[in-house]
């Protein structure tokens, strides 16, 4: 299984390492502080599983920089997807956890890679079922382009031009048990 996956990944180009990922997330933390004067109203809602970890790290940077502990949450998108039954594998659903009520709050959706935008749309639908936040923003580690919906990120760690046949692989110590890294690979065959 593992070998097969490596094979389809083909030629691999390293894009980010632990240091550049750390810098990118720290910069996002600064931008969030700049754009949100009322930091205590901000909730970082990660999309499982790497988005949750990235949200945790951004919150840790904000705590470091401003000594303010902002709230984090988990937003499950599996049951809000528009393609259940059309994918070969049924997405695993997980429990969402958001501080309530959402009214007055700014929810920042956090994910590792932004691609078509469909996951983010599902995340926005999921958030709306909990209430009506004052605003929703989007933070991603990588924006690889190819949007299929009118969605744009507010905070980007790295813009990475890709072609549709390429794959972006993100690995984080906490979720993947391997050192932080981002690669760009071409699907063989």
């Amino acid at each position: 299984m593992k070998q097969a996956r490596q094979k389809t990944f083909g030629a691999v180009v390293p894009i980010m390492d632990a240091e550049t990922i750390g810098r990118a997330l720290r910069r996002i933390a600064h931008e969030i502080i700049e754009r949100n004067p009322q930091l205590t109203h901000v909730v970082l809602a990660g999309i499982p599983s790497r988005g949750v970890e990235i949200a945790r790290r951004i919150a840790a940077f904000i705590l470091q920089i401003r000594k303010i502990k902002i709230e984090t949450g988990i937003i499950d998108v599996a049951m809000h997807r528009d393609d259940v039954g059309t994918r070969p594998e049924l997405p695993i659903v997980r429990e969402s956890k958001l501080p309530l009520p959402l009214e007055e709050r700014t929810v920042i959706v956090v994910d590792d890679v932004l691609y078509t935008g469909r996951t983010v749309r599902a995340a926005m639908d999921a958030i709306n079922s909990f209430g009506r936040p004052a605003r929703i923003q989007l933070a991603v580690l990588i924006d690889r382009g190819h949007r299929e919906l009118p969605i744009r990120p507010d905070y980007v760690g790295k813009n990475l031009p890709t072609s549709g046949s390429e794959k972006v692989k993100v690995q984080l110590q906490e979720t993947d048990n391997k050192p932080d890294a981002v690669w760009l690979g071409r699907e063989s065959t």
């Binding site: 599983s49 049951m79 809000h80 039954g85 049924l90 659903v93 429990e95 639908d125 079922s129 909990f130």
Partner: protein, 315 residues
């Protein structure tokens, strides 16, 4: 995706017919999926689009209110369309065979069929012949898988685990599909199971499944972590099996006095509807040990999980 979640498996079944054929991993996977859906019930908008555009047919050939309503609400919360058909409103009363009725439902493009039937094996029969998902809502004295799953979910939620717990199932075991499904599920997840009741309804034969059998409820209650009381099915009792309600209460009813034997953290469960004063005293049913209403709430989450998993696979 799976690699990040050790222990999680891929669900491949379009049908849920019983717990006997499920692995411990599969059972745990349903319970974990139910965790996510339980949380949906606490949202301001208690509805997700997961099964939008799908049609579910609740086909209840045997009467049932709570199971049917629970499936109906679960399907509605997943945004599926729901049709309810009962024995009296179906053409079964006009002599149509089960297979023909089901084929007609399929011709209407039903995606999920929830079936309650008095004959054991009826859901299996249809599952083999239909493209739609078939979910058993109880068949004869065979299995009632979603009831057992919600019982397991409730135990796991309250006690944090199932392995190693001592679970007593009390009452009419011989005719009980709830008992059978519970026995399979509990044993797979590592619980110790003791069946309690009169020897006519709890024959020693059950020991072959790997459970203990007792005819003395006083011996079992002090050690039990969970007591699951089954309803005495007046409508199904035949005189040769059952001495009489009075004698049953005297020997096996969970009375106020007997409840004093229970450990302080013992859970009292009942699949409902309860016969107050028969298998359980009112004070016990409404008391601190009782998780009977939690079972109802959890039933909804477990059925959402089952519909999501089986309904998602079928297409």
């Amino acid at each position: 995706m799976n690699a990040q979640f050790p222990g999680s498996i891929r669900w491949t079944r379009k049908d849920l017919l019983g717990l006997r054929e499920l692995s411990a991993d599969e059972i745990n996977f349903v319970l974990e999926t139910a965790d996510a859906f339980k949380q949906v019930g606490t949202r301001e908008i208690k509805k997700v689009p997961a099964l939008r555009g799908k049609t579910l047919v609740n086909f209840f050939v045997e009467p049932s209110t709570r199971t049917r309503t629970s499936f109906e609400l679960a399907a509605l919360r997943l945004s599926a369309d729901v049709i309810n058909i009962s024995a009296t409103t179906s053409s079964l009363t006009k002599g149509e065979t089960l297979k023909d009725t089901a084929r007609n439902l399929e011709a209407l493009h039903a995606d999920i069929l929830v079936l309650r039937h008095s004959s054991a094996g009826a859901p299996q029969f249809l599952a083999n012949r239909l493209k739609a998902s078939v979910i058993s809502a109880g068949d004869g004295a065979h299995e009632h898988p979603t009831q057992a799953l919600l019982d397991l979910y409730t135990i796991r939620e309250r006690r944090g685990k199932i392995a190693g717990l001592r679970v007593a199932i009390v009452g009419d075991i011989l005719f009980s599909r709830v008992a059978r499904s519970n026995i399979f599920g509990l044993l797979k997840l590592g619980a110790h199971v003791t069946l309690v009741g009169p020897s006519t309804l709890v024959p020693r034969e059950f020991e072959k499944l790997g459970v203990e059998v007792s005819h003395q409820i006083e011996d079992v209650l002090p050690k039990a972590d969970v007591v699951n009381l089954l309803r005495i099915q007046h409508e199904r009792q035949r005189r040769e099996y059952f001495p009489g309600i009075g004698e049953y209460i005297r020997l096996f009813g969970l009375t106020k006095e007997r409840a004093k034997l229970l450990k302080p953290d013992c859970l009292i469960m009942h699949p409902g509807p309860i016969n107050r004063g028969v298998e359980i005293d009112s004070e016990v049913a409404d008391g601190l040990h009782s998780v009977i209403l939690a079972q109802v709430t959890n039933g909804l989450a477990v059925r959402m999980a089952v519909l999501y998993l089986c309904g998602g696979v079928a297409t």
